[in-house]
Symmetry: C5
């Protein structure tokens, strides 16, 4: 259950106004980082309290506040008050088992989505929740712990690469979403590599280990699909709605995002089908093997059973067995055995078993 459903028990019947953190605590202390930039200026600093950020928001620059660690309900509450965030949004940020979604409020758009990582040694996909609040001139991101995923975007801002510094907070939101979905494709790619790797083993030597692997990968695919499907859906929704938070000129970028997420979904589905095909193949090959084993067993048994029987006949101790007395009986006996054996083999030849 741990994987497909976070424990909701703690929250049953509670008011949404009572903020509770539901999830695993991944970092000791929550930290806040601020990046404030315009086409000309850039300011980076670590915040000790959220109120230090409020002065920056007033200006014409883009203010990005990045929060690492979300178990601190007091901090989340302060942010909620400072930026006038709806209690339900705060609740969603604190419950790490949320399904990906987008919601529009009067003062902001909120995105809940998952950052995916592929753990190469365990061959499992790990996910963390990212919440992204896009206001008119600010962007707040909530991550479960400090990570490098947005490094390239931060570098583009720092080095003033491309047009990111000239554009508003909506473009920054796009850039972050783009990075996350690119990561999905990366994770799918790595899992896909693992999946394609077992194909040759599957053909040459289908073992129980491979079977177990296939089912493990199937669960990973399920897990990916569970996040990617709703993500794709809210991006589609984002492309359709007419929102003031995204400028007209950002529209083609959103369409590009939709393409990426559609592709992610399709490839996940294709790998799901491939794994199902592997399973059927496994079963067919196993059946095939059983046939081959049975064929060999049958050829041997069926050839030797009558021969052993004949030998048994002449091993009996009846006092009067005329054949035993003739000098050439033993050689005739051998001939009969050999002819019977050849007859059997001819029979199998006709049955196309040899």
């Amino acid at each position: 259950m741990a994987r497909f459903l976070k424990n909701k028990k703690a929250s049953i019947g509670k008011a949404p106004e009572e903020l509770i953190f539901i999830g695993e605590r991944k970092v000791n202390e929550a930290s806040l980082k601020l990046i404030d930039y315009g086409s000309e200026t850039i300011l980076e600093k670590d915040l000790s309290a959220i109120k230090d950020a409020l002065s920056c928001i007033e200006g014409h620059t883009v203010t990005w506040i990045n929060i690492y660690g979300i178990h601190n309900t007091k901090l989340i509450n302060e942010i909620g008050e400072a930026f006038n965030i709806h209690p339900l949004t705060l609740e969603d940020i604190l419950h790490t088992g949320q399904r990906p979604k987008m919601e529009e409020y009067d003062d902001y758009l909120v995105f809940i989505l998952k950052i995916m990582n592929f753990d190469e040694t365990m061959e499992t996909i790990k996910s963390e929740q990212l919440s992204l609040i896009l206001g008119r001139s600010f962007l707040i991101t909530f991550q479960e712990r400090s990570s490098d995923i947005f490094k390239p975007v931060i570098n583009r801002i720092r080095k003033n690469k491309g047009r990111i510094r000239e554009r508003a907070s909506d473009y920054l939101a796009y850039a972050l979403l783009d990075t996350i979905i690119d990561h999905y494709l990366l994770v799918i790619g790595k899992l896909g590599d693992k999946i394609e790797e077992i194909e040759s083993d599957l053909i040459s030597n289908p073992s129980k280990e491979i079977l177990t692997k296939i089912y493990r990968y199937k669960q990973e695919i399920s897990y990916l699909r569970k996040s990617i499907r709703p993500t794709k859906n809210f991006i589609l929704q984002l492309c359709k709605i007419d929102t003031e938070f995204f400028k007209e000129e950002t529209a083609p970028f959103l369409k590009d995002l939709l393409d990426l997420s559609t592709q992610a979904r399709e490839i996940v589905d294709i790998y799901g089908v491939i794994l199902t095909d592997y399973l059927n193949f496994y079963d067919s090959v196993t059946n095939n093997k059983l046939n081959e084993i049975m064929k060999i067993l049958t050829i041997f048994s069926v050839t030797f059973i009558p021969l052993t029987f004949i030998a048994g006949i002449y091993g009996t101790n009846f006092e009067y067995i005329p054949e035993l007395k003739y000098k050439y009986s033993y050689f005739i006996f051998w001939s009969v055995l050999i002819l019977t054996g050849i007859g059997m083999l001819a029979f199998f030849k006709r049955k196309k078993w040899l």
Copy 2:
């Protein structure tokens, strides 16, 4: 049939105006409880007759009447008359085999849904019908028997926690629906735990008991899906329609409810797929095992059959068998046996069975 369809026989061709209780009687006496609250006041009492509640409804407070036990058709009829409820609604309340739905009438919204419970010892899901009538200033709930499910909500009202006392009857309806759907997630979680528990047994020791369990869980999943799917659908419908019974400010809470129920549905589907995967895995593992058994049988049989045959040859009583006379015949005989055996094993080595 008991589980998937309540007996409709009693009602065939009957007029909807004739009220009949269809279901199992779960409590001896029906009882009525009233909670009437505003931001300042709160009144709780047990009612002996429905008319005692009518005075409360007039005021500006929220009046919540909770009925436990619905087999008393006379009582239901009185309530129907007192609150001007359509006969079809009363019929729906009395038939416990109803599918979850929402309906809008001029004076009220009616919700029919299921309260789910997971019976840990029997490992089955039990359900009861809850009917909820939301009027402009009152809320009536009909339960099959007294239960603790709404305790946390009652406590929030009593202790004036969160904003529940400041809000109207629509928020109360939301709070109850939220509690019920949270319960679904709890039940899914418990069943999910059971499902995930059998995975390791399935890999190490697939037995008929596990197989039977998988099928039992599949039926539970079917049973859950049967209730959750229409529930999700009517919540979606509720988010879309423009009704006076839900205030504008409650809308984000309804969307939250929709998220919860969508998540419930998706996770139920995921467990359905996992169980199907288990079954396929079971079959593959069983096949695998059969192969291993056959391999061992074949190796043994095929190795010993020719050896036993050779021994049989020299057990015959032909008078003239030249080999029997030589002194070293017995040792040569042994050598032939050993070489044949080694040849067989080499053959299996080449076939990759050893």
Copy 3:
């Protein structure tokens, strides 16, 4: 073919104006019954010709004409002329292999649907076609033969139970449709009982008879689905269209009908899935059984084969076999046999076959 498609051969290329009866003749003589009622009056009589009914239709009462036996094309033609029915409608009434549907004409609504019955001894579902023409003040029903299905409705009219006598012909149409769909649920329930009954046999003793039963029930489910699906669809359509033939006040009853038919469809689908699960279970159990059989065969064979081989060795007639001479050889021989046997069993213990 008889079950899923009535013979169309007779009608190929024929004009729709040429009325032909396609189906099985289930009654010798067609008969007509008239019930004409208002809130105060009620008149029941057997008609000898359709023209006798025409006078009743003029009034403000509801006129219900029930025709049993539809092979009489002349009678159908007369009715068609008397009530101005479109030739295509008449054609539909006469072809008993019609799929359920609703059609709106200027002067009437026509419903084609199936009355279902579960034949307990044969365990098959029988169906008959019911056509229902709803005009502004009359209702005509066409049944293949006389049946008791509408008895409860007739009794409600006779005894003036509920509101049926106060309402118009549209309410009567609803009451009849409701009765028919209630019957579907009854039939599904009976079939469902049969399906759930075989479950315990399936687990304890899966035999070919059970397998054949499962497939028989699957076909019954298919047969039910074939009728119920389009019925549900046209009721949905009926709820949506804006027709003068159904009064505003009947709308909630139609929604109720939609609920019933949706439930019928869902439960049919659930039983379809259950039967498929049974089949998979059957296969898994059979595989399981094969494994057990093979295990026993293998344990026996593999244990005795080398023992028999060793006995064979000392049954050979070589002149010089040193072991045969020692006094304790026979006891050593036995020890070797017993030790080999124990070794085999230990091997199987390790393989977890014992």
Copy 4:
């Protein structure tokens, strides 16, 4: 490939204006037949050139030109010019691998569909392409070869049966489409008979021949579905669009056509499901049989293996085997054998194999 895709190679990159015949030439010479009728008059003649038909078209009569044989691209081109047909339409007529469709042009509606025939000896479905061009006062049909399929319609025209002579070219088009779809139901019925016939064989004696038959029928079902699905779709589309080529009064007939084609599609799908069920049944029965075979083999082997082993023991030539000397040893030996055998059988009894 021959069945599911006609060779497109010849046409790659060609302009649609270059007419090429793609298909099998089924008749030596193309022939043209004209039927021109009104409510009073009827004229039938064989045409030698298309221009002979043009005079008839002017009048108020319905002009039906039936072309048998479409490999003659020159003729098709002349018709195209005479009736102002779009080059793409002519291309569609000439490519016999077209998927069924309807298209509306300014001067005509064009229907491309398949005429189905069930070849009883080969048990395969043959299809031919029929193109139908419906203008305001004319109808042109293109068939691959002369056939009797429209005979009943021609007879209705000749004998002035029904209303066909009083109606316009759109009713003629309906009558022809109706005939073709009735033929689909006939073909489905014949195939369905074959499918239902194998059921009893399947239960009593599942052989490889039956298996091959099931797969052959599955392909026929695929083949049918490939034509029927788009046909149903374009009839649905025809019911919805508002076209001048079909008069208001023909609308109920089109709806009837839609019913027929929907029914055709549904029954094809049901037979598809039945065949899949047959396959699963086949596999289950085969598994069952294997179990029975294994049971018998095991009972025999397991009963006799220890008996043979015991006999082997006393066939050894050890000099000192005390048992051999006692007078009643042989009878004790027999008793042991019989008891062992009985023990084995008791064991199987307990396992419920006997």
Copy 5:
């Protein structure tokens, strides 16, 4: 992974303005070819730089620029600037792992699609990305390498066949799309031939090689479907939208394209189903074979096991075995053996195994 997902790693977090080529470099040097034609004139030349083409575009002729080799990001950038192409479009052109799509910008329509080729020796489908930019009077195509696929279209232009020279750039775009989709059908046809070829082998001699082939073809079908499905979808979209880039008179050609691509998709799906059927058939046949093998093994074993046992009895060395002394014992012994054998065979006859 190589097949279903191109490596996205290089682009994570990069700005869309930074153009990177993602794919395999298939040609050394990029080359540009220009064809500029009107109804009267035609000009073909190799360009060394994109600016040489700009003069042609001004005129009333159709200007088609064909670029072979897209790894040259500088060239792509120049084209982007010359024709005012959006950076996202340029990015799509350079990433060869794009999913097929169409996008509308102010100045042009862009199509991304795949050119398919069937590699007969490897029996795999190869694909290359084609990007097509349709402006008001120009058309630019980007191919990964020089190919002959558009040769027939170029020839139609050169030889002034059909109406291509009289029509505008939209017709040229149609002609190219038509060629590509015709190629899909060709590829499907070739793969379909391979698929249908294995059918007879599958029936007569199902081997592991055939099984591996079926799975290989299944992957090819997946690969085809992955490209054809979105292609069909954007053509459908193209038929629906109202764009100035396609003239009214080209509409029927687009519908024709839609038919072609729908057909492509349907046939791909049919082959997918056929392959799945093959797999099931394979399993059934393998099961069947196993049964036959087991039958023969059982008949032999069961017939000979008791015979060998009886022979074993009379091979024992008990001193007192009365039967051994009678003169006719040996013949009676033989009779018993023969009768037992006949009894066994009669048993199998009754079981219908012989």
